[in-house]
């Protein structure tokens, strides 16, 4: 029996070994290494000297850090709740269509999600091109003159946010549709017999029963949008005068352009901790909100 038990454990170990090995190699080790590097002045490639908390001290005196932090926050505001609301609205609309019409409309809303980010940014850079962009006449109609969207300090973040919503929204739509399909039609029928209005149906049945999905969408979006880099890098490079500079951009630039591996690691540690705290906090908050 003892040998059986031991054999059982050995087999279990061989089953988990590949994952655990890869996890340790590309996840655990880099995490520990990141913390270690953040206390040194190492370049990207090569070793450095221990400098204690210098990098962190410098970071908390670095204006660019606060600018980036602010921009990350601003971007989250611009995307997380809007994309959730838009996705819910689209899901409710699509859900009332039937058959192949529903499939078609759903495909339209989902398609952008499967595009690589660089395809998305190239299409939108062209749509919004200062000279030839198809949307410039529209912008001119509203503001009176064409706007170089990605060079304009107050347009750049909302523009990147809108493009991000266009790109990733389809995923959220699907989640909401799945959530809607899980709600039993019997509930609506019963409520309708009681003479409930459309609004009441939504507020009393749809919204509460959809809350777990809403919470999931909010959580996933928050984590995703805090990790903003690709769209900003490809569309505005962080400018103008850092109006779209974000933390991950700072990590990239310090490490790969300025060759400050140690300092970049310090920024990365802060970003890492920040995302962990925010997601745990939000997870807890939403759970409490859901119980009520």
């Amino acid at each position: 029996m003892i040998t059986n038990r031991r054999k059982h454990i050995v087999v279990a170990m061989t089953l988990i070994a590949p994952f655990v090995f890869i996890f340790a190699l590309v996840f655990l080790y880099p995490t520990l290494k990141m913390v270690e590097l953040s206390f040194t002045n190492a370049p990207l490639i090569g070793s450095g000297e221990w400098v204690g908390l210098d990098n962190y001290r410098r970071l908390f005196n670095d204006n660019l850090f606060y600018t980036s932090l602010k921009n990350n926050g601003y971007f989250v505001l611009l995307t997380v709740v809007p994309t959730t609301v838009i996705a819910l609205a689209i899901a409710l609309a699509v859900n009332r269509l039937a058959g192949s019409m529903q499939a078609l409309v759903l495909a339209v809303f989902f398609l952008p999600y499967i595009l690589p980010v660089s395809v998305v940014t190239q299409i939108w850079a062209w749509m919004l091109d200062f000279q030839f962009g198809i949307l410039q006449p529209l912008i001119e109609w509203v503001t009176g003159k064409p706007v170089a969207v990605f060079n304009h300090p107050s347009w750049v973040m909302p523009a990147v946010a809108s493009i991000t919503i266009w790109w990733t929204n389809g995923f959220n739509v699907l989640l909401f549709i799945a959530g809607l399909r899980n709600i039993s039609p019997d509930l609506y029928e019963a409520a309708a017999l009681d003479g409930a209005s459309r609004r009441q149906l939504f507020m009393k049945i749809t919204w509460p029963l959809l809350w777990p999905v809403t919470a999931l969408v909010l959580t996933l979006q928050l984590i995703l949008q805090l990790k903003l880099f690709d769209q900003v890098y490809l569309l505005s490079g962080g400018g103008p005068f850092n109006s779209s500079y974000v933390l991950l951009m700072m990590v990239y630039r310090e490490a790969f352009q300025l060759n400050h591996g140690g300092y970049a690691s310090a920024v990365a540690v802060i970003l890492f901790v920040l995302i962990m705290i925010v997601s745990v906090l939000q997870f807890q908050l939403l759970r409490i909100g859901g119980r009520k």
Binding site: A148, G237, G239, Q257
Partner: protein, 425 residues
């Protein structure tokens, strides 16, 4: 026995490589595109034809940050090229990154070159503080003022031969721009207003023409240099306010504005000369043009300048094989001796035997702006300066918004000072 061995080897190589002989492959990375790119490709093709034993395998990527970021990382991890184009303005930055290998005297000898073959200033810019050489200078290039004669006809700005005259101050230039605007030039002064290169070159010229410098003894814009930088930005902003310069013009757009006849003046590198020569020859230009050294608009003679050079990056923690290095030096030597073809792209050769040859001194239109070599002001020798450096980033990130009116000149200069100073500390 040895003969037999080499015969077998030769047969084997022959069998495996088809008709090619045993070749040393030299991996070459450059940032030459457009007109420069065509001329460099032609030179590389010619080299490959003349050297059956060496094959240059060239890749071009986008100028500036994309090229230099990739080169830096690739060289550090041993995935870089064997030879690459490099800007001398960036050598101090490269030295701080430790990605270049020293060019020894015996390397130069292998290439058939010597230090005395180059302008002393170029050699100095290609060396570290102790005088060790890290790059082989190829050219000196600067910006010139291109003009479209059709907007100036009948004015005092053209002499009888049709050459641009009478622009001796900022007021003169602004008056000429106003005149051209009245004559229907949409944006009379075109330059790249939405990219680090175009903005930096003009800003640095205007700063230097006031006797200002960006970095002195580890201080960014110390003393009244801050005011001078402010003035330089204000001048550029003023051109924007008066609609003299295009808004948010990317590089291609800035060239197109001039070649399509919409801009009367155009400030850009000498490297666009071939574009205009070619278009004129093909009859697609539609106007007569000229180019002069950028006039002294402010107090002192000064024009931004930089140099292309060849450099041999480190190969991670490995050494390049001696045969490979010899081949690389052969390539460099050959290129220097054929720099006249490159000069047709508007550049001044750094290699004196060609720069002083009759063939070059009589080459047009280079001869008309030959004087710019005397006024050349290079970027500050600093590891935050040079192409694709934080200084260039600041040109795009801070000066570009300022000249479009999103920042006051004072704010922009101060912002730039703080951002760059933080990197030096």
């Amino acid at each position: 026995m040895k003969l037999l061995k080499s015969m077998i080897l030769a047969t084997a190589t022959f069998a495996s490589a088809g008709s090619a002989m045993a070749q040393t492959e030299v991996v070459w990375w450059d940032f030459f595109v457009g007109g420069d790119g065509q001329r460099m490709k032609a030179l590389i093709g010619q080299f490959n034809d003349e050297h059956p034993d060496i094959q240059i395998n060239a890749t071009s990527s986008e100028w500036g940050v994309p090229f230099y970021t990739r080169v830096r990382t690739a060289a550090a991890v041993g995935q870089g090229p064997d030879i690459m184009s490099y800007h001398l303005s960036r050598v101090p930055l490269a030295l701080s990154e430790g990605i270049l290998t020293p060019i020894t005297d015996s390397d130069l000898e292998q290439a058939g070159l010597a230090r005395d073959d180059f302008f002393p200033r170029s050699i100095e810019a290609a060396s570290n503080d102790e005088g060790t050489l890290y790059a082989v200078p190829f050219d000196i290039h600067s910006i010139v003022l291109y003009y479209n004669k059709s907007y100036l006809e009948g004015s005092d700005y053209l002499d009888e031969a049709g050459n641009l005259v009478g622009i001796e101050s900022l007021d003169d230039l602004n008056a000429a721009l106003a005149l051209a605007q009245d004559n229907g030039s949409q944006t009379p002064l075109s330059y790249q207003t939405s990219g680090p290169g175009g903005i930096w070159r003009i800003f640095h010229t205007l700063l230097s023409q006031q006797g200002g410098t960006l970095i002195e003894n580890g201080e960014v814009l110390p003393g009244d240099n801050l005011d001078k930088a402010t003035r330089a930005i204000a001048i550029m902003q003023d051109w924007g306010d008066k609609n003299y310069q295009p808004e948010h013009a990317e590089y291609e757009a800035s060239v197109a504005l001039f070649t399509s006849g919409r801009s009367a003046f155009f400030i850009n590198g000498v490297w666009e000369v071939p574009t205009l020569v070619d278009m004129e020859a093909a009859g697609t230009l539609g106007f007569e043009w000229g180019a002069v050294a950028v006039p002294t608009l402010l107090e002192e003679d000064a024009i931004w300048a930089d140099s292309h050079a060849f450099a041999v990056p480190i190969q991670g923690n490995k050494e390049m094989a001696p045969e490979k290095r010899e081949a690389v030096m052969t390539v460099i030597g050959w290129m220097e001796k054929h720099v006249l073809d490159w000069a047709a792209a508007g550049h001044i050769p750094a290699y004196l035997p060609v720069a002083e040859s009759e063939a070059f001194t009589q080459m047009e239109p280079n001869a008309t702006y030959a004087s710019l070599a005397d006024k050349a002001v290079y970027d500050a020798r600093s590891d935050i300066a040079g192409v694709a450096s934080p200084v260039y980033d600041a040109a795009l990130n801070v000066i570009a918004p300022a000249i479009h009116g999103f920042l006051e000149p004072e704010q922009a200069a101060e912002h730039m000072r703080q951002e760059l100073q933080a990197l030096l500390n």
